[in-house]
Amino acid sequence: MDNLIVAQELNKVYGSKVILDNINLIVPRGSVFGLLGKNGAGKTTLIKAMLGLIQPSSGRIDLLGETPWLFSDRTKERIGYTPQSDQLYSWLTIGQLINYTASFYPKWNSKLVEKLMTEWEVSSQDRVGLLSEGQTQKVAIILALGHEPELLIFDEPVASLDPMARRQFLKTILEIVSDRDCTIFFSSHITPDLERVTDKVAILNKGQINFTGGLDVLKDEIKRLRITSLATLPNDLKIANTLSCEITDHLALITVRGFNDTLVADLKKRWNAEVTVEDLNLEEIFLELNK
């Protein structure tokens, strides 16, 4: 099985509100997949549908080859999940909570858990109920890693972490994917984090996927053209797949999707213009796609 998550024409509707609108998504084995979207885009709903925590209104979704709300116990063992904010048993100490969680799994890597606790500065004696939001998130992530799942799903794992802990989280992710066969799916709106560790991304906007595929492909596909022409440029410069466009007399700034060298050559010739191609980072691309 090469694709661990496959969604086809997935929809989720609450009353008259469309939360997920015809989602098609493939997460190949071994990838670090980032789901990018602003607040309210539908990221959490999509993740819940993947895990069988909600039923889609129509369409289908497969995770590890099974339909999520019919997961077998064997399949559940292969998944690790951290929700956006986790309700952990507040009266336990971290050590007790870890032992309790470990008891549910046939295999549990205590060595890994201890290593992570040291690296993430989490103490087993501390009481769960007294932890800060960030500390709670760290514990929740460690709990999802202990049984060494094949598929890890994190909903906004870094949202309440400080920069040091965020960096530590990204480092841990990279160690996991280099050390063993593991696929990681996480949602975030912190673009530099996604840029650092993901190889595939999906951009979710108002319940629709605007782009899904390789992060490199996305960066190669969307470019900003700076056109300086000797002639005055028309206000409605027609270029296919324009995402945004600003024109003042001789200068035009145009962001296009589906960039290629022929386009540049054409523009140069047609407008007797100088054209420079500017690369955009993920944040800029994200903003352009959400315009």
């Binding site: 990279l174 840029e195 490199d216 690369d279």
Partner: protein, 130 residues
């Protein structure tokens, strides 16, 4: 003690240039500058991914494209060996092009501050000497 990366790579993950291309460009630049002589090995995918804190798939992609271009050669169990002698200096243009947008930004800033070309050159010279 952690082993220091043997070669100097600097990746800007938030640059618009895809990370795999930054890795490729920098390998080429270092070959052109004779920092990486023929026969030396590139760091392993794992090591490179760890040192630069980037996805191992990205490093693999850069390495396999370099292999396709005949710049490195994959030796089973040993790694990626630099297969070519010093590359023609034209590969340095790649990094010069990257400087374009940065220079434009500096010049724009200087103009906003009504700083003339002469004082700007002086500032660059000072920075250079550091």
């Amino acid at each position: 003690m952690q082993k220091k990366p043997k070669f100097y790579f600097q990746i800007h993950t938030s640059s618009g240039v895809p990370v795999y291309r930054q890795v490729m460009d920098q390998v080429k630049t270092q070959i052109a500058l004779e920092h990486l002589p023929r026969g030396t090995f590139l760091p392993s995918v794992r090591q490179m991914s760890k040192d630069l804190e980037i996805n191992p798939m990205t490093v693999s992609k850069a390495y396999s494209l370099l292999e396709k271009e005949g710049i490195v050669e994959h030796l089973r169990g040993q790694g990626m060996k630099i297969a070519q002698g010093p590359l023609p200096k034209k590969h340095l243009n790649v990094s010069q092009e990257n400087l374009g947008p940065l220079i434009r930004e500096v010049v724009t800033k200087a103009k906003q501050l009504s700083l003339g070309a002469e004082p700007l050159h002086k500032l660059i010279d000072e920075e250079w000497e550091k």
